[in-house]
Symmetry: C2
Subunit: 346 residues, 2 copies
């Protein structure tokens, strides 16, 4: 990869500032957990797996900041750190998964000194990051088997290296197909209101030398209907036990249009995105963000002041629209309830 | 109406500059036909019926500019004026309809003096504008019968007063339902890339005091799926004999999503939007516009320079997705081939 999304260096967290792409490639340094929480809220970093890594690193930073005489005080303050990290964004389950994993590590080291616990937390956060890269490469390997030679792949939002520790989930599939010499092309939905497709996916694809065509979201159906799209591949923020998938707003529409035009629709996501505690997608909380994301672009008003705005950041695609879910453990299709549990090893 | 879209005044054409809304309400004066042609190309004025009026007024201006000794020379030059007007935009049929109507009037007055022909053309252009307002009110009257009390209506692009001589087609239906005290609400798709929904529809609705909620295009499916939308009403740029309808890019997607969610999808358009010479929508030319409309918003880049872009300005919604077409002559549904010919009086 020609960029790093997030890394732990010298007891600080470094992140590429995704609000400034594609214009500027700037790396921010975070030395305290509250600024990491703000970075997640403010979408300096976004994408479900990347948020999981950032949350874990935030907890590791927080553990270093805690001043405590006793283990009891340390664990009480650590709980508080975890709560603040958990309140940053509601939809992507990887956030909660990352925090839970950190809590379990802390718990497992309860008998050790505070500095040993802090060290174990740091190592766990770095391990989550490193594992994510491997996971994405495996998702890519599985997913590439579904991509025909010469395919034109539509993707929505950014499920790329920037949404993960690197390589990407949906873009991992695309990268792997490209590396396998499949001569693919990509159509990227710009993905209003935050423009992850125009700003991030297009930037990654251009950097990678993969032929990329940018379209506005409402053009996807047009190109599907004209037979110009071979398949769709998107990421996920949370997948319920029955396969219903929360992902960036607009994913549901892409899936409906794909089904209507007999185009395969694939979801690429790590096992950490599964939330098998939810029987279906109706239970997934949907974040609504600020109206300014819709009414302003780069600070410039594009709408009259008096208009109301709705800004749901995610939607849920029912499993019946999904051809297959690509995980690092393999491809699940058909009976998701059975297949996802099996992939998760439950 | 609290604004005028287009009018003939003192041998000039006055248009509200739609590229500067909603920030500024500026009226431009055009004194020659070439600048009217540029205004249509540059989307100072847009919307199928409004383009029809503008083209007719452009021809009337052009007739005034012609210097000719003979009728033969005048008619040759008038043909040239009409050709330049016709080359401005390819999809909306009202443009060609308006020009043809002007040609027929010139032809009918061939025996008169050149100044009498010029006067007849001016009167015809003004008549087209005045008729359009009446037509829109009739579309509104018919359409309002389809809108239930308390409905939430989704609309795409701007088929409002700004897209016509006033009142609007889709927004004409909405205005009429509002005037009838139906207590309606409107969801307006922002309509990328040109943002007609955010900039124009939202502006009209706020001005009119009709409750309006702005969403990005990819949110329409989400709200339909949640049961928050009662019906969809859109305009049209060209309707083939079988009911297939060309309209702003993204309309097809709205229609597919409406069908999938069992929501009525209505097209509101004057008879002048019918092109009964086309048996189906596959024959409608689709304008592709400049890449900058997608990559830049108000001059600011939102995408990396190296990315390819596609920018089709329209799509075609097959008739099977359309619940009914609302014309000034009545509501057509079911057998469009029969119904549209009957409405057109053919």
């Amino acid at each position: 990869m020609s960029f790093r999304t997030i890394e732990w260096r010298d007891n600080a967290v470094i992140m590429i500032d995704q609000t400034r792409l594609p214009g500027e490639e700037v790396y921010n340094t975070y030395e305290d957990f509250k600024s990491v929480a703000e970075a997640i809220k403010g979408m300096i970093i976004r994408g479900a797996p990347a948020i999981g890594v950032a949350a874990a690193m935030g907890v590791a930073l927080g553990a270093r900041e805690i001043i405590a005489d006793t283990h009891e005080s340390f664990f009480r303050q650590l709980e508080n750190v975890c709560e603040i990290m958990a309140r940053t964004r509601p939809t992507a389950v990887n956030l909660f998964w990352g925090i839970e994993r950190m809590k379990r590590v802390a718990e497992a080291h309860r008998g050790k000194s505070l500095d040993q616990i802090r060290e174990a937390l740091k190592k766990e956060a770095i391990r989550i990051e490193e594992e994510d890269l491997t996971i994405c490469r495996n998702i890519g390997k599985w997913g590439a088997t579904l991509i025909p030679q010469g395919a034109t792949i539509l993707t929505h939002c950014n499920a790329g290296g920037l949404a993960t520790a690197g390589y990407g989930t949906a873009l991992g599939v695309i990268r792997a197909a490209h590396e396998a010499g499949k001569n693919i092309k990509v159509f990227a939905d710009e993905t209003r209101p935050w423009l992850q497709g125009a700003r991030l996916t297009a930037w990654e694809l251009v950097k990678e030398g993969i032929p990329a065509t940018l379209i506005s979201d409402n053009m996807a159906g047009f190109f599907m209907n004209r037979g110009e799209i071979t398949c769709c591949v998107v990421g996920a923020d949370r997948i319920a036990a029955n396969g219903d998938t929360a992902n960036k707003i607009g994913t549901y529409s892409v899936a409906v249009l794909a089904k209507e035009n007999n185009i395969p629709f694939y979801v690429a996501a790590p096992i950490s995105t599964l939330d098998l505690s939810l029987s279906d997608g109706s239970q997934i909380p949907i974040e609504e963000r600020h109206r300014d994301e819709v009414t302003h672009i780069k600070g410039i008003a594009i709408a009259p002041a008096g208009v109301s705005v709705r800004n749901p950041a995610f939607d849920v695609t029912p499993a019946r629209y999904i051809t297959a879910i690509i995980t690092e453990k393999g491809i699940v299709s058909g009976d998701y309830l059975f297949g996802l549990r099996k992939a998760a090893g439950i």
